[in-house]
């Protein structure tokens, strides 16, 4: 029954379970990836795994993943921001807001298998839209565009990026006060002036931040592509998944770890960019 503020050693015992748990299930896995990327099959240090990353299919997968994530981050951010603004003009607590918010919560979280199946039902050779368009002489069926990273995957990924953008960005848009608009108007400013000099700069940091978040979201996604694509591994998460589930070539046991390390490195760069940008924008806004 020690009073609050004494016995720091005893107090540390209280956080021991948390640190033990996160060490086992977060710290050790991270270490295994980082260290394993530099070990060969016999546990000797090597740079062989990193140089294996220059294999053409792995390089292609990294490029596909990066471009796919960047394109869908921009598309998702722009469309999601428009949607967020449109929803923010609706009455607070109204049915439209609730519906859109709940729907976006589901669609952003329930990506993966459900989403892949939804697009198979729409665009596969027996899909709803494919059959419908065939009636009008347009044929989508003979190409595999749905399973290609720059075509089908862009469409599918955008489908879960827009709802995430709405969830992340809506609070920022809701922070816009009507008084600011009225102030602009009373000073003779137009709608364009308001967006260019008031709302735009205020929203810019959260917009860019949300876009970078969307990038990492798409970059990390595995389930959707795994459920959609049955042949080949055009993006990097599928490549990594392949090293786990299939027989690996002798001497390349840890290439998967090197690829995983590469993914973490890219995500870390994006996150650093986010921090730097945010600091700059705040400085610029503050001056």
């Amino acid at each position: 029954m020690a009073p609050i503020g004494r016995k720091p050693v005893g107090a540390l015992l209280g956080v021991l379970p948390f640190f033990a748990y996160t060490t086992i299930f977060l710290g050790i896995p991270t270490l295994i990836v980082v260290v394993g990327a530099f070990l060969d099959g016999n546990g000797h240090p090597t740079f062989g795994n990193l140089s294996a990353l220059t294999q053409p299919q792995i390089v292609a997968a990294f490029i596909h993943s990066t471009v796919l994530s960047a394109v869908t981050a921009v598309l998702g951010a722009v469309l999601g921001a428009l949607l967020a603004y449109a929803v923010s003009t609706a009455r607070e607590g109204g049915l439209m807001r609730r519906l859109v918010a709940s729907l976006c919560g589901v669609l952003a979280q329930f990506g993966g298998v459900t989403l892949a199946f939804a697009f198979i039902a729409t665009f596969s050779s027996q899909g709803f839209l494919t059959l419908w368009l065939q009636k009008y002489g347009m044929d989508l069926a003979d190409s595999n565009w749905l399973y290609e990273p720059y075509k089908g995957l862009v469409l599918v990924y955008t489908y879960f990026q827009i709802p995430l953008m709405l969830i992340v960005f809506l609070p920022a848009v809701e922070g816009l006060r009507p008084q600011w608009r009225e102030a602009t108007e009373s000073l003779g400013g137009s709608t364009w002036n308001y967006w260019r000099h008031v709302a735009g700069p205020i929203l810019a940091p959260s917009f860019i931040g949300a876009m970078l978040l969307l990038f990492t979201n798409a970059f990390s996604a595995y389930a959707t592509a795994a459920a959609l694509i049955s042949q080949g591994s055009p993006i990097i998460p599928l490549q990594i998944g392949g090293t786990l589930s299939s027989e690996v070539i002798l001497g390349q046991e840890n290439v998967g770890k090197a690829m995983a390390l590469g993914m973490v490195a890219i995500v870390a760069v994006v996150m650093t960019l986010y921090v730097v940008l945010e600091r700059r924008t705040t400085k610029w806004l503050g001056s």
Binding site: I4, F25, L26, V33, F110, T114, A118, A121, I240, M271
Partner: protein
């Protein structure tokens, strides 16, 4: 004032246009799922697939993997939420009370999974799970141990907001000075005061666990998504129906939750 009214009207039409166009994009795959699952063999419509899906004894007999997946996901949800709450609420409260110096570190650890993709975590977890299987067995339920890590960032944010809104220190000191032990403080003082935050952390975790595929699939364990994916290889129509059914269920739960949350908030005085 007429300027105001014009803008109101313009905003309303803009709102309907944007929500309409983007809504169409979102509705299309869902409509396609409904269309796909109601096709009759010779053309025309039938509800056979949906009848099968809701015929539980038939599902039990013919599609046991779906039943196992549902049960596994239900168990995983329960265990994940329990471990998350039992570990996070006391730790975060304790750090606020006694170890404020550790707050940054705890925050950093909790947000770390945001920068580590699930697929990377799987690579690192493989050896850890070899030990888990050795000590605890092969049950799918142990996936919950990894799921707790996945839900950490979301749960932390929700709980941190909740704890930040109450005066943890004063509440705990008053309770202690009246003779309450730490378990009583946690259970009867802190927890009731942050129940909205606990609820929201729990629901975020439920949504994430029900949608999880990556870890379960790569460790060859059962859960809802793995089962639906497997079913897709046997009977695509039934698999799509199952996927749609669980998505609608999640939507209804989230919508209901938005009413529960707002009902509680409106009872409280406005904070600004």
């Amino acid at each position: 004032m007429s300027l105001h009214a014009t803008r109101r009207r313009r905003q309303a039409s803009f709102r309907w246009a944007v929500v309409g166009v983007i809504g169409l994009f979102f509705a299309l795959p869902i409509v396609a799922m409904v269309e796909f699952t109601t096709r009759a063999p010779g053309g025309g419509r039938t509800l056979d697939t949906w009848a099968t899906l809701f015929n539980f004894s038939l599902i039990d007999a013919d599609y046991p993997e779906l039943k196992h997946g549902v049960l596994a996901s239900a168990g995983l949800t329960l265990v994940t939420v329990t471990i998350m709450l039992v570990m996070l609420v006391p730790t975060m409260t304790w750090v606020r009370l006694r170890l404020p110096g550790l707050r940054r570190l705890v925050e950093f650890i909790c947000l770390l999974p945001l920068t580590i993709p699930a697929i990377v975590l799987v690579v690192g977890l493989a050896p850890v799970y070899a030990w888990v299987a050795y000590f605890l067995g092969e049950s799918s339920l142990w996936l919950a141990l990894a799921y707790v890590i996945l839900v950490l960032p979301y749960a932390y944010r929700a709980l941190d907001a909740g704890l930040g809104a109450i005066d943890v220190k004063t509440l705990a000191e008053s309770a202690r000075s009246l003779g309450a032990g730490w378990p009583t403080v946690m259970w009867r003082i802190i927890l009731p005061n942050v129940r909205t935050a606990v609820l929201s952390a729990a629901f975020l975790s439920v949504a994430l666990v029900l949608g999880e595929f990556t870890i379960a699939s790569l460790f060859s364990r059962d859960n809802l998504q793995v089962a639906i994916n497997l079913l897709g290889k046997r009977d695509s129509s039934l698999a799509i129906a199952a996927a749609l059914a669980f998505m609608i269920l999640a939507f209804v739960v989230l919508l209901a939750m938005s009413f529960v949350g707002s009902g509680r908030r409106s009872n409280r005085p406005e904070e600004n």
